[in-house]
Amino acid sequence: MTLVNTNFEPRLAHRRRIGWFFAFACASMVVLAVFVLGVLLISVADQGWRWLSLDFLDNFPSRLNPEKAGVKSALFGTLWLIGLTAAVSVPIGMAAAIYLHEYAAKGKLTRFIELNIANLAGVPSIVYGILGLAVFIRLCGLGRSVLAGALTLSLLILPVIIIASREALAAVPDSIRLAAFGLGATRWQTVRSHVLPAAIPGMMTGVILALSRALGEAAPLIMIGALTFITFVPEGPLDTFTAMPIQIYNWIDEPDLIFQELAGAGILVLLGMLLPMNAVAVGIRAWHQRRKAWS
């Protein structure tokens, strides 16, 4: 009894002060982050809002008449790019995650593969651009096409999709699998009818966040030679293209002030595409939290 009590000094006020200080420090970091984001958004909106109109979406970029310039070629290029990227990366990424988590034996090889996928997620995007240039454009002969761009972006986001999907699968409690096996279900039946329905919302969240990352990428596209000045919309996957981030970058580089404002408007359009995607991801997660089958 005495041993325990001798060294104990309550100093309750002091400890509470430390706790309060820590909470204050964390809260001020939140305020700082939101403040910086707010300043950024306001300055962009201030520059670009007056150019935002349906014409801005429907006009091609113009160097001679910037008053009538728009983002049509870049907007359609980006839509093509994201559509093709999703079509390639989502099935491959989800299938890889399902195999790694549900089927593969938990051996050294699986661990090695997973470790490498995690490493690939950290590789700078320009490296994927160089890879895309060498493999898709030169080796496969796809040219500087929107398909080559989409395949490059697919490589870029595959590790992210696999990791996110694996985590969603790992969050499904083993008791569900064991119960299904216990009732005589095969592995395929277990995965299809029990694990996937529970994991799909989490997987979708990861997929959408990965796709929004691809949406904002410029470096790998510049590397594979997406064009700067283009005034037509891709008509097929093998057409040349430009994308929103490249159009924005190109405008920011122009000397006249009006192009800086156009760049601001372009950023607003890009944000206008990103925010709904992220909102869908958040929405799916919220919906999933409510109807979770376990807990």
Partner: protein, 341 residues
């Protein structure tokens, strides 16, 4: 009566519709509408010219797709001289003459090219607007400042009488044709430059740097200076002869802004030039060259009509190779004109 009126109205409407259709098809088939793609890439200095040309040309030939990339003069030649024929660009934008190495590569790949001069650009040297002492700099002083391994870090080291102000340097990156030209003209050897300066491929970054630093000194294309005149102070250049020259469009046109004026070129793949859309684009360009090059949104110095017709002649007669290094029919005239630069 009412019925009659209605029918006559309908009649008029159909007549108008038929007339409209005939008119539209007439305009579509009346003049030859071309299609196809013309691919350009290269210098960021030349790009405003070719982008403007592309835009104006596509106004007349909406079914031709002209694309312009910006990879720097060197990067543009890499795409112009790609190993794979289907990845090659048709025309390369260049803010310097093609290099010996690039000519060799073209020979090795069996690519024949036609060189046409399209305009002149000056390189502006600028300081912070509050800088009251550096009104002009001699080429020797610039050389001492920019040479590789230069130890100048303060304005007082440049000239006797300059105040004790730390110097901050800004310039384009190593992929830029402006960098190649400046280093050759000032330091005597291409790419010979000190490396401890703020380098950026984006001229706007350089504008911000020079305008934001009291002891700044930097250089980039004159047309960019024009768009940012209020933020920068232009420095006159003394070509070591005691008469400093402040560049302006007229001065650059006159050829007295030495040694920092440079010609700009298009390099045309000869095989690509057999395609009608490429031919039409270049014909349009050369016929309207002055309007394009000196368009207020482009703002470079156009060449004389004579030089443009030399370009036209070179294209039509298929004179391959670089006029600036090889000898040929009217290359003498070209060399004479460009020897000033």
């Amino acid at each position: 009566m009412q019925d009659l009126l209605r029918t006559s109205k309908r009649l008029t409407a159909s007549v108008v519709a038929i007339a409209a259709v005939t008119f539209m098809t007439g305009s579509a088939f009346g003049q030859t509408k071309l299609s196809g793609t013309v691919k350009l890439d290269g210098s960021s200095t030349v790009a405003p010219i070719t982008m403007a040309a592309a835009e104006m040309f596509m106004g007349e030939q909406p079914r031709v797709r002209v694309t312009v990339g910006i990879s720097g003069t060197g990067g543009g030649f890499k795409k112009f001289l790609d190993e794979k024929a289907d990845l090659r660009t048709d025309i390369s934008d260049a803010s310097r003459v093609i290099k010996g190495k690039e000519i060799e590569r073209a020979k090795k790949l069996g690519i024949e090219f036609i060189e046409i001069p399209i305009g002149i650009d000056g390189i502006a040297v600028m300081v912070h607007p509050s800088n009251a002492f550096a009104n002009f700099l001699t080429v020797d002083e610039l050389k001492r400042i920019w040479s590789p391994g230069s130890s100048i870090t303060n304005w007082s080291q440049v000239r006797k009488g300059f105040p004790d102000v730390p110097m901050k340097l800004y310039g384009p990156g190593t992929d830029s044709g402006t960098f190649d030209y400046f280093t050759k003209a000032i330091c005597g050897k291409e790419k010979a430059s000190r490396s401890d300066y703020t380098a950026s491929e984006s001229d706007n970054v350089l504008v911000r740097g020079i305008a934001g630093n009291k002891g700044s000194l930097g250089y980039f294309g004159y047309s960019y200076y024009q768009a940012n005149q209020d933020k920068l102070k232009l420095v006159a250049i003394d070509n070591n002869n005691g008469t400093p020259v402040t560049p302006s469009l007229d001065i650059i046109r006159g050829g007295t802004y030495k040694p920092l004026s440079r010609p700009m070129f298009l390099y045309v793949n000869k095989t690509a030039y057999t395609r009608p859309e490429v031919k039409a684009f270049l014909k349009y360009f050369l016929d309207n060259a002055k309007a394009i090059v000196e368009h207020p949104r482009v703002n470079y110095v156009a060449l004389s009509d004579e030089l443009y017709s030399i370009g036209r002649h070179r294209l039509n007669t298929g004179q391959v190779g670089s006029a600036m290094s090889a000898a040929g029919d009217n290359t003498a005239k070209l060399q004479e004109v460009f020897s000033k630069f």
